[in-house]
Amino acid sequence: MSYEIREVSGAAIVALTGDVDLQTSPAVRQKLLESLDKHKRIVVDLSAVHYIDSSGVASLVEAFQISRKKGASFSLASVSAAAMRVLSLARLDKVFTIHSSVEAALAPQA
């Protein structure tokens, strides 16, 4: 698993690649929380995630909850089929704001 964080017009784009599992999710959680400290808008790019487990999902849920408390924006973008399968099984696909692409996530909201 690897991750890449870039900043685009004040938003942090966190791109995850590979498997998010019990081994790697603590690092993912750490990065998400750090990004939330610095930015008001977080977009998590899940396009290259081949696998995400319940602990990875839990990290996303935790970051989402903190962002709401802080009044920050937290969304998922370009969710891979594998990640979408897990999110829908967990019935979290209706909880998260999910964009078809990072660009769509960054587009000014109507």
Binding site: D19, D21, L22, Q23, Y51, D53, S54, S55, V57, A58, S59, V61, E62, F64, Q65, A82, R85, V86, L89, A90, R91, L92, V95
Partner: protein
């Protein structure tokens, strides 16, 4: 003959009784005699003493007590008083003066023997004694007659008896008959008590021959419940210095003392000969030869003898006419009976043919072997019917999760009604393949398929997060082997991954290097089964719940994911040595879809 001369001399005769005898004296005599009969168990002494009293009281020369024997055909002299000892003398119960008294149940007086045709002079001829006059009274008790008392030769007066003497003797005989009858009843009770005591001793010796209860970790356990105080069933367990374990279960034909003795003999032979035997076939051949040399009365022994190697989980088994043992596969919950291939022991030397008793090899493969006697299958259940082999299997299945010592008690307890004894002795023995004992010597898991149906692969990895990726790769390979679709594979991978996480986090409590996870992939028809085993303390399945999804919070999601994608997901009773066994079942995608 010295006795003859002695007899002919009147001075040798007993002291004459008092000439005047009243009712009080009669009663006193009867009372004293009765007291003596009841006070002692030395029958000969009492009888002799009673005859002496009667003889002296009536004033006679001699007396003898005859008792019926040989189904009433013969009268045997069981006691006598007088100058000639005829104890043991046997005369016909149909003839003679005494015979007549027994047949007619009436006393008689032969005032002068020379005038009675029934008098047989043969006894006198043997003893040299001269009988002149005699009194005979039968020993009547109710409708029965036990024998008769005979009084010979009055010593005073003209030496001949009077009618009064007969009345007195008949009265005394009735008291004697009652006393003898009481004595016999008492003897019977004493004899029964003695036999009971002997049986108790035999039972104690027999219990000592059974092995001590095994410790819970030991792979072989047995239980024996006798139907009576002694049992014809037995079992034994004996560990060799190299760690291999001999075991047997046997059943001796018949019950009671003889069966117990044959059991003790067979059991000793097993212990003694097992030390030098190479396999159970050879051992049972040797026991058969020994038993045939000395066994009698058509008794025989059925036996299952085996040699188990805990290091490999394999055993060799020989069955001499015994109930077929059952191999129980914990994973499939299937039973395989191991049939009886040889005749019982102790019937004929070399009965098993020129090759001797055959040996079957069994790989327990983490399962168990149950050996039992027909006391289990033929036991009456609470419902009233016979348990049968299906009932026995159901009981074994029902109690599979219990530790072996408890399990054997549960199974035998299910057929032994409280407060009632069993119809037959019951013996049950279980051999368990303890996987933990073998873990160290287990070959590394090989990532290759073994057959289209059955085990696909087994994986044993340390329970650590950094091994989850390996486990997922294994799931993918196993699914690929079954030609599963990508979506199907993804779901199963996720389920197995989540289950392993639970083992790492909950069973092992996130402790690094706390233990291993064993994952078995099994193809069964159109289903894939994944068995996840750990070596941790048992987890309470009721505490492992899927979370309420309406609540958005981290954690608790794993079980929900597993249940969402699997057809079945549950904890099942683990085999011995395994902490928890979590079983996932997922139907393979149909090829048509």
């Amino acid at each position: 003959m010295p006795q003859a001369t002695k007899l002919s001399a009147p001075t040798a005769a007993p002291t004459p009784a008092l000439p005047v005898r009243g009712q009080t004296d009669h009663l006193r005599l009867i009372a004293e005699m009765t007291r003596e009969f009841t006070a002692s168990h030395d029958y000969q002494t009492i009888a002799h003493s009673a005859l002496e009293r009667i003889t002296r009281y009536i004033g006679a020369e001699a007396a003898s007590l005859f008792l019926l024997t040989d189904n009433g055909e013969t009268l045997a002299c069981s006691a006598c008083y007088g100058p000639v000892d005829i104890t043991g003398l046997r005369i016909s119960a149909k003839t003679g003066v005494v015979g007549r008294a027994v047949q007619t149940r009436e006393g008689s007086m032969v005032r002068d023997v020379s005038e009675d045709a029934d008098f047989g002079a043969s006894v006198d001829a043997k003893t040299g004694f001269t009988t002149r006059s005699l009194l005979v009274a039968p020993l009547n008790i109710g409708q029965d007659c036990l024998g008769a008392i005979e009084i010979i030769n009055r010593v005073d007066g003209d030496g001949l008896f009077e009618a009064d003497d007969l009345v007195l003797l008949e009265t005394l005989a009735r008291a004697a008959a009652l006393a003898i009858n009481n004595y016999r009843l008492t003897e019977q009770i004493v004899q029964q008590e003695r036999e009971r005591h002997e049986l108790e001793l035999a039972a104690e010796i027999q219990r000592d021959l059974l092995p001590q209860p095994s410790s819970r970790e030991f792979p072989i356990h047995g239980i024996n419940i006798p139907a009576r105080s002694v049992s014809g069933d037995f079992f034994d367990i004996m560990t060799l210095p190299d760690g291999r374990i001999w075991f047997n279960v046997g059943d001796v034909s018949g019950k009671g003392m003889n069966a117990a003795l044959l059991m003790a003999k067979t059991s000793s032979l097993f212990r003694c000969l097992a030390k030098s035997a190479e396999h159970p076939g050879q051992l049972l051949n040797a026991i058969n030869s020994e038993l045939c040399e000395t066994n009698s009365r058509g008794m025989f022994v059925t036996m299952v003898g085996g040699l188990f190697d805990p290091a490999t989980g394999r055993l060799t088994l020989t069955n001499a006419g015994h109930e077929p043992p059952l191999h129980f596969d914990l994973r499939t919950e299937r039973f395989t009976p191991i049939p009886a291939d040889g005749p019982p022991l102790g019937i004929m030397p070399g009965i098993a043919g020129s090759d001797g008793y055959a040996v079957t090899e069994i790989d327990l493969a983490g399962g168990m072997l149950y050996v039992f006697t027909d006391g289990l299958t033929e036991a009456t259940t609470f419902g009233g019917g016979m348990l049968g082999i299906d009932g026995a299997r159901a009981l074994i299945r029902d109690h599979a999760e219990e530790s072996p010592d408890i399990r054997l008690k549960s199974i035998s307890g299910a057929v032994k009604l409280p407060g009632q004894s069993l119809r037959d002795d019951l013996t049950l023995l279980v051999v368990e393949d303890m996987m933990t004992a073998r873990a160290a010597s287990m070959p590394p898991p090989r990532l290759e398929a073994m057959s289209t149906d059955g085990e696909i692969l087994r994986l044993r990895v340390p329970a650590r997060p950094d091994r989850l990726k390996l486990i997922r790769a294994a799931v993918e390979q196993a699914a690929k082997y079954c030609e599963a679709t990508e979506a199907w594979t993804f779901d199963l991978t996720m389920a197995v991954d989540e289950a392993c996480q639970n083992i790492i986090r909950h069973a092992y409590g996130n402790r690094p290097d706390a233990g291993d996870i064993v994952v078995d992939f099994i193809r069964r028809g159109d289903c894939m089964e994944v068995h996840l085993m750990d070596f941790a303390e048992p987890v309470d399945p009721s505490k492992v719940k899927s979370r309420d999804l309406s609540e958005v919070r981290p954690g608790g999601l794993g079980v929900h994911l597993i249940k969402s994608v699997c057809d079945e997901a549950q904890f099942v009773p683990p085999p011995p040595g395994i902490g928890n066994l979590f079983k996932l079942t997922k139907r393979l995608p149909s090829k048509l879809q």
